[in-house]
Every structure is written in structure tokens, then in C-alpha cells.
Symmetry: C2
Subunit: 312 residues, 2 copies
Amino acid sequence: LSRPPSLDDILNGVPAAVGRAISLAERDVWGNRELLAAIHQHTGRAHVIGVTGIPGGGKSTLVQRLALEFRRRDLTVGIVAIDPSSPYSGGSILGDRIRMGESASDPGVFIRSMATHGASGGLARAAMDAVSVLDAAGKDIVIIETVGVGQDEVDVAAGSHTTVVVSVPGTGDDIQAIKAGILEIADIHVVNKSDLPGSRHLMAQLRDMLRMGSSRNSGWEVRLVACSAKDDEGIGALCDLLREHREWLEASGALQAREKDMAAGRLNALVHALVSRRIAAPDVDIVERMVTDVAERRTDPRTAAETVVGAL
Amino acid sequence: LSRPPSLDDILNGVPAAVGRAISLAERDVWGNRELLAAIHQHTGRAHVIGVTGIPGGGKSTLVQRLALEFRRRDLTVGIVAIDPSSPYSGGSILGDRIRMGESASDPGVFIRSMATHGASGGLARAAMDAVSVLDAAGKDIVIIETVGVGQDEVDVAAGSHTTVVVSVPGTGDDIQAIKAGILEIADIHVVNKSDLPGSRHLMAQLRDMLRMGSSRNSGWEVRLVACSAKDDEGIGALCDLLREHREWLEASGALQAREKDMAAGRLNALVHALVSRRIAAPDVDIVERMVTDVAERRTDPRTAAETVVGAL
């Protein structure tokens, strides 16, 4: 591994330093402690937006259009994409050099793709570290894009100031967000591909659902917007709603509650990462013994788990 | 919650008792300890098969066809479906009454749908408990169907004796299993919907990939089979391959290694469930204090995590 970047370079948003800081945090949860602690001190300014929905909803096109719209409004943008089906490579809207690093055409956008597999210590943990780095690097907006299928991905999207759930028309008469269990985390619903047949029906269904449900914070009425990301339609309206939600969070005092939720999610992920690390430590042979005992039915899994936790 | 079922009823495969045991384990990780420990003593007989792949691959149709084929061979089948897009409800191949409980038309098949969200203590943990119950209940074959998107779901599918990865033609020129990071966990690859154009191309691509890659166990050559589940084609061949893999596991001694991997995955899930429970305990106010300190930047997340683990 290369030398860690300087804090100054990160705070100044130097793309190479930002990318390197994210890589270091991703690969080594417990390395570079002082740097990551210092980065944390410089966070809390960005508007963190989670975008989720089932695969095939056109989320990455939407996120890219959104980034361009924020740029038009003179805001800088960081994107953390943890959707394995995201086409953040050649031919995407924001340019070529975006798999890792800044947009080719605009240094005000920094995009980072994250593998859903292999991040040491968990995807949620790595994603939240990446958000911190981008926040500290001065991005006004940080967007986390996930696919709302695994619990981890849902947690990540929900661990934002503002959560956007993307649906698309024409995939049966159920609302996919309900199936995926992500309806209730939305502050804003987007019906993307609104040019497709069934779009009005889906909007009406969502509107009915919202009438019955409740938001995470009383006082905010969950909003609904139709977009056609590929045609750049509805993106301005979505951008307005995102700003409105952020302003509501600040004015109502709900921002502090969200910040605490985000800190709790982060702490939880790191506690589990630490436990995993201790379990995997080479001197903890109690784990190996318990695994054998469970496999050979000499003990049951729950008793074995208590033995391991007791020995940590 | 209703009274726990008797161990005898579970071991005799009484559907109501089996269903109730799974529900109890799902809802209360640490309840009914003696019953779950006793169930564990009676496991180890079933052939546990994981089936995974990205959404839209026709996995649930494939799994149902597979169940029917096993039944034709006089084997009983348990299915744990944790794909949120699985259509295990009215109109499915195995009949109507299968969202929870035995197949309407055949008591030799027991299907259990699991929500990806809300299982207390984690999806992987709950799924593995369900597998144990079905194993103890005498099912010869237990199939876990997951969508290979979240890490949890991949872990569940990989935590089987035999892992089947399902791909479908015509979704771009990449192999989806590579994108989802699930190529390497396959013991058997299925190209489903083999009547679609591009099926031969996908088979050839997979064959090329396999030539480069390696299996989880040296000695087993990863196999490739084309199916059209909706037309019931290729299912017999898949069934033969599954039996062949199981026989190879037994003959080569690799079965013990897999059993240990499965026990390790299970222990790991339960250790994390136990840690989550201790963190959430009402008397652990250190967690609340650390959350506030992280949110208000008085400490950094890693130092806070160490403080919490130290206090557990």
C-alpha cells in the first residue's frame, strides 16, 4: 500500500488524495487511525443523500443527471455507488474516467464505485467511511447509490439525511419497494422511466400507500416525483425537493436526530467489524474449537456463540 | 407467541410443527434454546443446496421444477426462499398453499418464504436455523434460494454443501455472476431460459471463465448445464449433477470441510447476533453516549467502537 495522503490534500479536495483515503479505509478498517479520526472532525457539512431501489430502475442514470443538475446550481458532488449493476464505466453520462476519481469533464464531481463484496469489515462500514472522506473533502452533496435488496444496502441508503426510493412502471401490479421492504425508508419517491406505460398507475398506487404510511420523522410529508432520467426530465423538480427536505431537517431540528441515527449505524458497523477482527485473530483458537464442536454436533450453535463472545 | 412445538413432531416432519419451529427461531434468536439445541443434534443428514443469481433469472421456477424432480426420485424436499422477488404465492407451480407450509398437492415438499428484512439477528442466521429445522424434520434435500446481490444472501448460498449459480442470456455482454461477485462460489452453473437468444454465447463465455478459475475444492470440476425451467428442460440433468456433487463430497472427504465452513458461518452469524443484542440492551448506556459523541464529533467512530466492545 502506498503512503497515506495528507489531511490538507484531502480537505482541499485533491482528487488523488480523496481517492487514496477512500481506498485505504476500504482495505484496512483499523489502519490510518489518526488520519480517519481527523477526517471525522471535518465532516458534518455535506448533504448526504441515499438513493435506492431494485435493480433495473435506472438509478445510476438518475444519480448522474442529478449530479449535473447540482453542478448547474454551483454545488459540488461526491457519489458512492455500491450497486453492482451500475454502469459506471466507459460510455456513462459523466464521462470516461469515472470508475474511480473525478469526472473527466468536471472536477466538481467525484465518483467512487464500491464492490459489494470484499470490503474488509463490511460494505456499510466502507461506504460510510467513503461518505466521510467526501464530506471532509468539501463536497456539498454526497450521494450514496445502493440497490435495495440486501439489508446492508438498505441500511446504507437509510443512513442518510435524505433517502430517495426509485421505482419503475411495468413490473407487475405490486410496488417493488414494498416487496424489497424499502417503502418506509423513503423521504422522497421517484417514479423513474415515467415515459413507460403504467407510470400514472404506479404514481397513483404510491400515493395511496403514502396516505396510509408515515415518514421516519413526523412533520415531513413524503413526496412523490416522476422522472425520466434518460431524457433529463423531472430532475430539476427532484433537486428542488431534495433541497426542501434538507431545509426542513435544519429548520425542524430533525437534522440532529438523523445525525445521531447515522452515527449509531456507523458505530454499529464498526463494533461488528471489530468483533469480526477479534474472531479472526490467529490466537483465538476457541473459535476453531467451537466450529469443530458445532460441525460434529458436540455443542449447539448458540452455546458456541456465547462461549466465543465470552472469550473475546 | 404460541407454545413451541414438540421435538417429536418436528422430527416426524409434521408440517405445522416444522413451520412453527422456524417461525419461533426467526422471531426470537435466543428463545427456545433447548429445543433448537436438540434440533441441531438431529441435523447433518440432508443435502443442503444453495441456489443464487441476480433477480430475473427464473430461480424460483427452477427451484420448484427441481423439487418436483427430486420428488419423482422419491426424495423429500424443503425450500427456504429468501429472494424478495420470488413469486411463492397464488399461481406458482407447486400449488397455492405454499407461502408458508407444505405444498398443497404434496406433503413431501415444504416451502418457507423468508423476508429479507426484519428477521431479528440477521437474515443469514434465520435462514440457517430454518435449514436446520428442515434437516431435522427429515427432508432429504434442503434448497436455499437467495438473490445474489447482498453479501448476506451470497454468504447464505455459499454456506451449502452444493452451490448453484443461475445466469440468463441476453442481459448485456457481461456475465452477471461476475458483476455480482458470485462466479467463484458456484459448484454448478445453470444457464436458465436456454431457449432465449444468446444462450449458446453465454454458455461459451462461462466455459471460458471456468477454464481460468478454480473451484472451492480442488478435485471437483465446476459443471455447466443449460435449463429451461418453464419448459421443464434440463432439470433432470441438473438433478443428476447435484447428486454427483454430493457423492463426490462424500467420497473425497470434502464434505467434512464444507460442514466446518457451514458451522463457521453459522457461529459467526450468531456471535454477531449476540453482540447486537448486548449493544441494544437497555442498561448499556455507553452505546448511547458514544453515539452522541460521534455525532457531535467529540470522538471518532473507531475509538467509540473500541470503547463499546471493551464494555460489552
